[in-house]
């Protein structure tokens, strides 16, 4: 089977954007990569980990993004080429270190790849990391297609070594998770040697101290490095222009916006009227290069996702250059030519362009659109996200929800980031009442758990997964214990970072490269911290319910670990524990006291309602055989038989 390390130089491959980033790093001679899983970034580290032995590189899943960036920086300080890889929110976590890293600078080429999610296709936000490049004064580059994803990654290491600072690469879902043709380059033959030189003069960038002092001097150095990057950007093959010499409208774009804009120009047939300036280097913008193209057109249309970052920087530059390039009219995200939120696509860019050019643009014939809308309204039922059949989170949230209802004091569950975030929806019975960042559920519970003195008597619960526990929940739990809060943390331990594809974490018995490692025990850690710890199997409904009920009035900090593997995990996928069936003679459906509890409330996708026979049924293709529905059926109509 193919990996990113095979293939001859010059060979053309269909590659996912994330494959191309990983391949580019290998071609550059990357020695160390570290990251934390997060969609749409995870495949880069996975790809590198898969070839780590063969290529003699070191690749790790770090406990969180800040540590990932520190691990990668250590390699750079020791003279190696390294990468820190994460999704956009991870850069927030790593930001504190990133500021200081920019002050000390780097030695071996070091890159940050931030994969962002305009449109929040798999995120709880449309967060941007591009402003961090400006804030921390490091260069930012943005590939626009699959070939550039590979080539610009390779180039970023050279740039980093030239300026001796971190280079930030920004990707988006529509590049990371899209695929296109890539021509492969050569892979280096040798592994470099690592050594951290620290015996030189204090200020020696190669052999001195990697510290931010003296601050003003280091800050000046940072800015000097950035100016050097600008001079390199002035003559960079990844910035390009296509279109007429004096376009009526100049589109300035980057990243996925390039292919959308190119298609929008074709859709409207305005190739002769509109110019397309694709910027691969988006911070800082190279002023001379920009002046050349900004001077060609009175109207500037910036196409980017999501915030007007490029647009604002173009405006600043245009103001500075106004004496030479004249006054411009600007369109983009700021003036409503493009929507101020969400990802773009060719139609949105075309709609904006047609407005600017006063052209008609109809994507779909109105007569067809009318029938299609009617069809969609009746024959394409909305599909809310749901926990998979056999998901232990459904069982855990079922019990937590029922226990809070039985308790009757309007207790609540503070949520966190993982598959269980879906617990805010019908599939988790709307049990989660807050969702913010990684670890925030327990931080909030720690705060809520101190409000008794103000008369708050509601039981306080938080929830997290096993990977999230290590990532950011531990400090919040320590905080709750130290400050004597009253709360219960429920850890939904499904044995892996399930949401992003079962990457290992500190509680796993394997590391990123598949080496056996000692698994950290969440229960032992919580006990050592001083929490009262209970454990249960969420599929054992009655036992789980009783244990949780007893914890609600216990006071202090409790940790309740619900351990049951993910239904899609490597040990379980495709293997049914039970053969589940419905005894049609016993199921009374609507006439049962439960009134279809299984399909109406429990709602596992493995269940279906037979409107003819008026009984529940099992969908054998979807059912994963967990047997949970048999435990909740009050009449005993759903039966489970253990499969040998």
């Amino acid at each position: 089977m193919n990996t990113i390390s095979d293939g001859r130089p010059g060979e053309k491959r269909l590659m996912q954007g994330n494959d191309a980033f990983a391949r580019g790093a290998l071609e550059a001679g990357l020695a160390v990569a570290a990251g934390y899983p997060g969609t749409p970034s995870s495949e880069i580290v996975e790809n590198l980990a898969r070839v780590s032995r063969e290529r003699n590189i070191y690749v790790e899943w770090s406990v969180n993004e800040k540590v990932a960036m520190e691990v990668a920086a250590a390699a750079s300080f020791a003279g190696l080429r390294s990468a820190a890889i994460m999704k956009q929110v991870g850069v927030n976590v790593a930001a504190d270190f990133m500021l200081h890293l920019s002050e000390t600078g780097t030695r071996g080429g070091m890159i940050l790849i931030s994969c962002e999610d305009p449109g929040a296709l798999s995120s709880g936000n449309e967060g941007e990391s591009r402003p961090f490049a400006k804030l921390f004064e490091v260069p930012l580059i943005e590939p626009a297609d699959f070939q550039e994803a590979k080539d610009m990654t390779k180039w970023a290491f050279e740039l980093s070594e030239e300026i001796r600072n971190l280079v930030m690469i920004r990707s988006v879902t529509r590049l990371s998770h899209a695929s296109g043709n890539v021509v492969l380059g050569e892979l280096p033959a040798e592994t470099p040697a690592a050594r951290f030189e620290h015996k030189g003069d204090f200020m020696d960038p190669d052999k001195g101290y990697m510290v931010p002092f003296p601050v003003h001097f280091r800050h000046l150095q940072m800015q000097k490095k950035l100016r050097k990057a600008v001079s390199i950007f002035e003559d960079c093959p990844f910035n390009s222009y296509e279109g007429p010499e004096a376009p009526e409208v100049l589109i300035v774009t980057s990243s996925a916006g390039y292919l959308y804009s190119k298609e929008a120009i074709q859709l409207l047939g305005v190739e002769g009227r509109v110019g397309l300036l694709k910027m691969g280097t988006t911070w800082p913008l190279p002023p001379k290069f920009m002046e050349k193209y900004l001077s060609t057109s009175p109207v500037i249309y910036t196409v980017e996702e999501v915030l007007p970052f490029l647009e604002d920087n173009v405006k600043i530059l245009a103001a500075e250059l106004a004496g030479r390039i004249g006054v411009k009219t600007f369109h983009g995200r700021s003036d409503g030519t493009l929507p101020s939120v969400n990802e773009l696509n060719p139609d949105l860019v075309a709609a904006g362009l047609s407005k600017i050019l006063s052209l008609e643009y109809t994507a779909m014939a109105p007569a067809y659109a009318e029938i299609a809308q009617a069809a969609g309204a009746t024959a394409a039922p909305a599909r809310d996200l749901a926990f998979c059949a056999g998901c232990p989170h459904r069982s855990s949230l079922w019990t937590i929800h029922n226990v809070l209802e039985m308790d009757g004091r309007e207790g609540f569950l503070c949520g966190d980031i993982g598959c269980y975030t879906l617990g805010v929806m019908a599939t988790g019975y709307g049990t989660l009442k807050t969702v913010h960042a990684m670890g925030s559920g327990t931080g909030l519970a720690s705060g809520f758990g101190k409000l008794k003195q103000f008369g708050m008597d509601q039981p306080v619960l938080s929830v997290c997964g096993d990977s999230t526990f290590f990532h950011a929940v531990m400090p919040a739990l320590v905080n709750a214990i130290h400050n004597q809060a009253d709360m219960t943390l429920v850890v939904l331990d499904n044995s892996g970072t399930a949401m992003t594809g079962f990457q290992p974490h500190p509680g796993s018995e394997e590391d990123a490269a598949g080496n056996a490692v000692p698994a950290l025990d969440i229960a032992e850690i919580a006990k050592a911290m001083g929490a009262h710890v209970e454990q249960s199997d969420p599929f054992e409904v009655a036992a789980t319910q009783n244990k949780l009920l007893s914890l609600l009035d216990k006071g202090g900090v409790n940790v309740f670990i619900l351990k049951q593997g993910c239904a899609l995990g490597p040990e379980k996928k495709g293997r049914k524990l039970f053969d589940v069936s419905v005894d049609e003679d016993v199921c009374f459906g609507e006439n049962c006291g439960c009134n279809k509890l299984c399909t109406r409330v429990f709602k596992c996708p493995g269940l279906k309602w037979d409107p003819e026979k008026k009984t529940a049924r099992i969908d054998d293709v979807i059912c994963s055989g967990c047997g949970m529905c048999a435990s909740i059926c009050p009449s005993g109509a759903i039966q489970k038989k253990e499969i040998a």
């Binding site: 070939q147 779909m364 299609a372």
Partner: protein, 205 residues
């Protein structure tokens, strides 16, 4: 890069379904079969949280000229392969046109609100009626049922890839399929997948 021509350039294909049906794998297979022949192939995938019951959609843009936007423009699909019948309707709503060809699995995957009885699932007649109105040609295939008979419902996606080869709008061949499978799948799975491809192909011819 290729001397071959396409019935449309770019040819816009959508593979759709529900998380867990093997949608992404099908798009990779088709993409690689075409890239092997020298075409530019751009695949845009929407599969973020889709393992958890959501709709999944892959856009394939096939061209002799260049990479294209990973999201195709509205109303511009030439063919749609759907692993779930109501997902075909959802896609037609955005990307359909009077000439589009649709191949759809007949096996429903019920949405949460359908399971709970809050909304109803369209009847076969209703689905056929909309297909008639919204497509140039359509084929409804019991791919999952056939796949179950072959031993694994997941083969439904490969059956539909075979069916797409069967309509002949794209240069997809069994030999090309074998070549891609050989380098992306464990050898033990090759025969059953080839059989599923043949089965799908036969269901069109």
């Amino acid at each position: 890069m290729t001397n071959q021509t396409l019935s449309a350039d770019p040819f816009n294909l959508i593979i759709t379904g529900v998380g867990g049906q093997g949608n992404v794998l099908a798009s990779k297979l088709i993409g690689n079969m075409l890239a092997d022949q020298g075409f530019y192939v751009t695949i845009g995938e929407t599969f973020g949280a889709s393992q958890r019951g959501g709709s999944v959609m892959s856009h394939l843009r096939i061209s002799t000229k260049s990479s294209l936007s990973p999201q195709m423009p509205r109303g511009k699909a030439h063919a749609i392969v759907s692993l779930e019948p109501t997902e075909a309707i959802r896609v037609l709503q955005e990307y359909g046109n009077p000439e589009v060809k649709v191949i759809s699995n007949t096996r429903p995957v019920y949405a949460l609100e359908v399971i709970s009885g809050e909304i109803s699932y369209p009847s076969d007649e209703e689905l056929k009626g909309w297909m008639q109105k919204l497509t140039g040609a359509y084929w409804l295939i019991d791919a999952t049922d056939q796949a179950v008979k072959m031993g694994n419902p997941i083969l439904g996606n490969v059956l539909l890839v075979g069916a797409l080869a069967g309509i002949g709008d794209l240069p997809l061949t069994k030999e090309g399929f074998r070549k891609v499978m050989a380098r992306t799948m464990p050898a033990s799975k090759l025969d059953i997948n080839l059989a599923a491809f043949d089965k799908g192909l036969a269901m069109i011819n």
